[in-house]
Symmetry: C2
Subunit: 123 residues, 2 copies
């Protein structure tokens, strides 16, 4: 419990003194089956543009093997301020509006910090 008391912050991981503070958001998406191709087209376009943002190190799109209607967007931001900047971009707003009616249920997300690799290992 010492670790939790002494090292926890809202930003950094604990037990890791190497300053690993990449701000990583996993977004869970459940797509209507008949919207899969349209979703993938819109999401690839957004991903290609997003990785050009200086605040984004990676923007991976994963498709679940045993349920092809489920995706995870792994968004790796260089700082905690970069997600807000991403949401101001035209490509994000176009994606958000384009896929709105393709969702089988609302998206959810979980925020992470990097333990490994350190900040130099994300591109």
């Amino acid at each position: 419990m010492l670790v939790l008391r002494s090292g926890a912050t809202s930003q950094g991981s604990i037990g890791n003194c190497k300053g690993s503070i990449m701000f990583i958001v996993n977004v869970f998406v459940h797509v209507k089956p008949d919207q899969l191709e349209s979703f993938e087209t819109a999401t690839l376009e957004n991903a290609h543009s997003s990785v050009q943002e200086p605040g984004i190190a990676r923007f991976d799109v994963l498709q679940q093997q045993d349920d092809l209607t489920r995706f995870v967007l792994v968004e790796v931001y260089r700082t905690k301020d970069d997600p807000a900047r991403h949401k101001e971009t035209a490509h994000y707003q176009k994606w958000r509006d384009t896929v709105a009616d393709m969702m089988a249920e609302p998206r959810s997300s979980i925020k992470y910090n990097n333990v490994f690799p350190d900040n130099n290992g994300w591109g």
Copy 2:
């Protein structure tokens, strides 16, 4: 539904004709609070060794921001056969045995394929 019928395979993503077949496993780990530092030490050692395996493109370790006892290991394998090879390594077996008693609950996992980037974008 056409997409599901015509494009789904046990290996590849659908709606994506670029041959994206990286085999990605997200392993969800819930650690006992008093084992955080020990878990992180063992997991960093395993991650450093794992990324040296030819079949592993990435081996990211993420810590959940709002619950520091929860981690995701993002294991990116080049083929579906590489997870089995990983489990044969000394470093994996050492990690598995070392962390066995550090778990607050059994690990779970979900398998994915890559939609973006393509196979060249994982290191």
